[in-house]
């Protein structure tokens, strides 16, 4: 039962043991979570160029496209991060199911919040939402005419991303779908961001309540920031 001192340990490499341990897997989910929260934050600031006018957003989009190979590195990196986040969550979930096969007949959702208990569901719905979002604005397969929107920026012909966004969100069901997707993302983040501090061990008894409050507020701020775009289009503030 009691293993020998590590210097004489045989068997898998300690890093592999860590990765396969409960805490190692949780840490991977937390670290990939950080990367995704940073991405979501950066994405929002990029989106805000919409409010500065068509030239700003179109120029922002042009610069992103201008990254060339680097853009693909970022895209594939994000795909990998999302993949790891989901893979390790599913590994943990499988173990958790096995660890508690019998439920209580008189069940009581002790302490847990609805946000915490629906992490997998909200996460998978967000995944579906991201797929739709990419199909809608990146691949333009939802409405292929988006591809043919062009304007000029400093005399050069460019893809009119501004017009695409305005047209896209003028569609009420699509806007509602976005708001719904963002709401689920917010539910996910309101438990997730606070959780990653706990998983990485950067909380203690006195800081945990503050961290949970601030991270919840941060998740809802992101929500307000993101939904401001479809709402501005629907209410005609952005035309």
């Amino acid at each position: 039962m009691i293993s020998a001192p590590s210097t004489t340990r045989r068997g898998p490499h300690p890093l592999l043991l860590w990765l396969l341990s409960s805490i190692g897997k949780k840490t991977i989910v937390a670290l990939t979570g950080i990367a995704l929260v940073l991405f979501v934050t950066g994405h929002l600031f990029g989106n805000f160029t919409l409010f500065l006018g068509p030239d700003w957003l179109n120029s922002y989009a042009l610069h992103l496209q201008g990254l060339g190979p680097l853009l693909w590195v970022i895209r594939l990196g994000l795909l990998g991060v999302v993949g790891l986040h989901i893979l390790f969550t599913m590994l943990l979930w499988k173990e958790n199911q096995a660890a508690r096969p019998k439920k209580y007949i008189a069940s009581d959702p002790i302490q847990t919040t609805v946000f915490a208990r629906t992490m997998r569901l909200s996460g998978l719905c967000v995944l579906a939402f991201i797929v739709f979002h990419l199909a809608h604005f990146t691949l333009c397969v939802v409405d292929p005419s988006f591809k043919n929107l062009h304007t000029t920026l400093d005399g050069q012909p460019v893809h009119d991303v501004y017009r695409m966004v305005v047209l896209g969100f003028s569609n009420v069901p699509v806007s509602l779908l976005y708001i719904g997707g963002l709401f689920l993302l917010t539910l996910h983040l309101s438990h997730g961001i606070g959780s990653l501090f706990q998983t990485l061990g950067i909380t203690n008894r006195s800081t945990r309540p503050t961290i949970e409050l601030v991270t919840k507020a941060y998740a809802w701020l992101l929500f307000l920031g993101y939904i401001s775009i479809p709402i501005s289009v629907l209410t005609g503030i952005v035309k």
């Binding site: 039962m1 009691i2 590590s6 210097t7 340990r9 043991l17 805490i23 439920k103 909380t203």
Partner: protein
């Protein structure tokens, strides 16, 4: 007072079980939950029915042996163990559902009795602490800062009852393990083995089949010793740090 009980009855580890209904009559309000069960068992024995099997030992809240889930909450409503739960906490005529602790690593032996040896094996995996054997040392000869001693004492309050794993929807034992790791790792007597201990205890915990923490904090809500879930954060940190040390070949 009178209560309508729904009690999990199960003949053995392999047999299936089900809830049976019993009436608890003439229960004094000041009776503890276990005393109520004693009264019901006397009644059942008189009727020729097999009494309800349950674990109990000290009946003063320090041994952690009583392991009942009452209306879906390990140790029932309020902070404390089942033996420190009094019937005045319930309404007269209330229906009370009593189930054993549920976790795959705590197999049900019979009725409400579960096998919690998995916790003992985790403790054993933690190994020994270096302590001078022989006559007791002079008081205060080992200086320990007051704040450190306080946190270690808070962690040492864990009685290993298993309510954390029983409350956790994932059947995770992390609150228990984190309390032991914190308690032994903070004091001078256990510090030299701190990192080896956290590696061995967490690995044993995983091997026993306990689940993973999803930060629900149900464990913290039911813990009769008031162990805070922030100890889990501390354990996560120590485990990852110890793994890093081990992987670069630092002797632990």
């Amino acid at each position: 007072m009178k209560f309508y009980l729904e009690v999990w009855r199960q003949k053995g580890p392999e047999s299936g079980g089900k809830l049976e209904q019993y009436e608890a009559n003439d229960i004094p309000a000041e009776a503890s939950f276990l005393e109520m069960l004693d009264i019901v068992n006397e009644d059942l024995t008189a009727k020729g029915i097999e009494p309800i099997q349950f674990d109990s030992d000290c009946r003063e809240g320090i041994c952690g042996n009583c392991s009942l889930t009452i209306n879906g909450i390990p140790h029932g409503p309020g902070r404390g163990t089942t033996c420190q739960l009094y019937m005045r906490k319930f309404r007269d005529g209330q229906i009370i559902t009593i189930e054993p602790f549920r976790a795959d690593s705590f197999p049900v032996e019979r009725d409400l009795v579960v096998n919690r040896e998995a916790y003992d094996r985790i403790m054993q995996a933690g190994g020994f602490i270096t302590e001078r054997a022989g006559s007791a040392p002079d008081a205060n000869s080992v200086p320990i800062p007051k704040v450190v001693a306080d946190v270690a004492m808070d962690a040492a309050a864990c009685i290993g009852c298993g309510a954390c794993a029983a409350a956790c929807p994932n059947g995770s034992a992390m609150l228990f393990v984190s309390a032991k790791v914190t308690h032994l790792g903070l004091l001078p007597q256990g510090k030299p083995e701190n990192h080896r201990r956290v590696l061995n205890m967490v690995r044993q915990m995983d091997q026993e089949g306990f689940g993973n923490c999803s930060n629900y904090y149900a464990c913290e809500a039911v813990c009769p010793a008031g162990i805070p879930a922030s100890f889990i954060a501390r354990m996560n940190r120590e485990f990852s740090f110890a793994s890093l040390k081990e992987s670069v070949g630092v002797p632990l």
